[in-house]
Symmetry: C2
Subunit: 354 residues, 2 copies
Amino acid sequence: MGNAVRIAVDAMGGDIGPSVTLAGAASALKTHQSSEFLLFGDEAVVTAELAKFPELAARARIIPASVSIGMDTKPSIALRQGRRVSSMWMAIEAVKKGEAEVAVSAGNTGALMAMATFCLRTMSQIDRPALACLWPTLRGHSVVLDVGAAIGGDAVHLVNLAIMGAAMARIMLNVECPRVGLLNIGVEEIKGVDQVKEASKILKELELPMLDYRGFIEGDRIGWGEVDVVVTEGFSGNIAIKTAEGTAKQFAALLREALGRSLVTKLGAWIARSAFTELKTKMDPRQVNGAVFLGLEGVVIKSHGGADAFGFARAVEIGCEMVEQDLLARIRQAATLVEGRGAPRAAQAQEAAK
Amino acid sequence: MGNAVRIAVDAMGGDIGPSVTLAGAASALKTHQSSEFLLFGDEAVVTAELAKFPELAARARIIPASVSIGMDTKPSIALRQGRRVSSMWMAIEAVKKGEAEVAVSAGNTGALMAMATFCLRTMSQIDRPALACLWPTLRGHSVVLDVGAAIGGDAVHLVNLAIMGAAMARIMLNVECPRVGLLNIGVEEIKGVDQVKEASKILKELELPMLDYRGFIEGDRIGWGEVDVVVTEGFSGNIAIKTAEGTAKQFAALLREALGRSLVTKLGAWIARSAFTELKTKMDPRQVNGAVFLGLEGVVIKSHGGADAFGFARAVEIGCEMVEQDLLARIRQAATLVEGRGAPRAAQAQEAAK
């Protein structure tokens, strides 16, 4: 294992494309020096861009792809037009073929999800993949999932999210037994939707050794870092993360506006500028760029479409860490344990709940 | 009508009780000088507290209630123990009897919702009540609903939320034809859950004169004030508002921490202090305290349990505005229009979606 991760990059993905993805890969290479890169995309464009990064060029191979998936292409059309021939598909397929261990794309989420699921398939115990991200908190970071891959889901789906999120948290947050909470609209046992209450029961019963189930958590406690993993289905998870992003930007805009109001406030802001730099760094969404598709037979990382080179590098680095610490084996191990220990009880509980 | 609103106050509700609710009522009286108050609660306690506010005492009557509903009491138990005899129930019942036009309580949300629904009943066209709040945005405020009254709901439920939210927005935001958006996880028509897509179709078809339907809105755009009314069912709405609250607090905590890091940053912060006062005022959750139960045959306002007198006064004031501008008539008018014009089409659309 070590550091020799082979990374398949969808060089054409994202709002900008190769100038960002290659600069990002070059930057990630600095922290993961023995990595190797497969760069999928328009040969002429990628070759020209790669010439700017000799160190990356020495560890990268360009693989021509004739199609680039647009940022607004519908998943079904992306699959029809881009299967086998697009940079996005080929990057994912490299993982399937074992030519790479992780695929990274800043391309459109729906298309990436459709292609990754179609090409790699889900793990046997997992019904649908999930998208997990790092969420900056007052204590550091938490893993939040699903932030938009699969809408809805029953209690067993939520339990699977919990074990997959815990596996990711163990790698990214370096905690042996991550604290897991189910996102709900109250912390009392009687509150919330049935599948969330049911998932809570199952998680309590299972007493899994790889996670520390802490019950329900409300939206206002995510940013406090009360748990390491926040579990919810894709609709509410997406709304939570987008709302948090929007609120952070709103706060920053109001702060900027207020500080620019007069010469005096501008002077104060200039004197205290190190504080604003610190705040900006801590709230910088690029730091946590790189959502992980969980539940697939392969590691696929989704970078924000608008990420710059710094952000894309973070996505590549997150991919490397997932591979180095063998995310898939950790999830398989946990899923097998759940299946052996809990599936019957879970099924009974589900039956009883009907 | 004018300003002579009769307000029923659950004096015992909230984390603190009468010292906050009476101080809040006294403060609200300053802006709504001809209001009259019915104060429900423990006679001795409320009498002692009222003595501190002679101006309020001149316009208030104490009505003894033998039971106070605890902040953690389950709704079913609250109904059993508190029906007819609790300060919360009696305040609501005063609205039903026509002795007051609005009830305001800082008591527990579940109990208040259960009692209000049981006592006042929902309007004939409305299946379940909703909880709507004001959300501070970069452009002012928006109305967001449902922030936690009813979990889930079909397309018609969401359409009802849209017309009720628009009625509230017209009053609170003073816009003739509020822009309405459906909260979703993407703005494309193909995205999201079926009932949201269906509600979108119905709203487009109805072409209601009292609202300007703008399609889907994502969580990160709420704070931008892109629309005046954001519509979603109670689970995701509660998660959105709590997550925004949490993120704002997180941002404020990080800002405080960063500014307190050194003497220099402290000095800068002191010089620019007017900017922080401005920011604090704009983000002050007390400014928007007072969520409105919509869809009931009466106006009931829910104050935050932890609100102080300033916050509770805001809740009372919001209640007064709802009454003065006849929220109920506006909702009834819109609901009747929908029923006449759209219900058949809506039903057809629902049928077709199956």
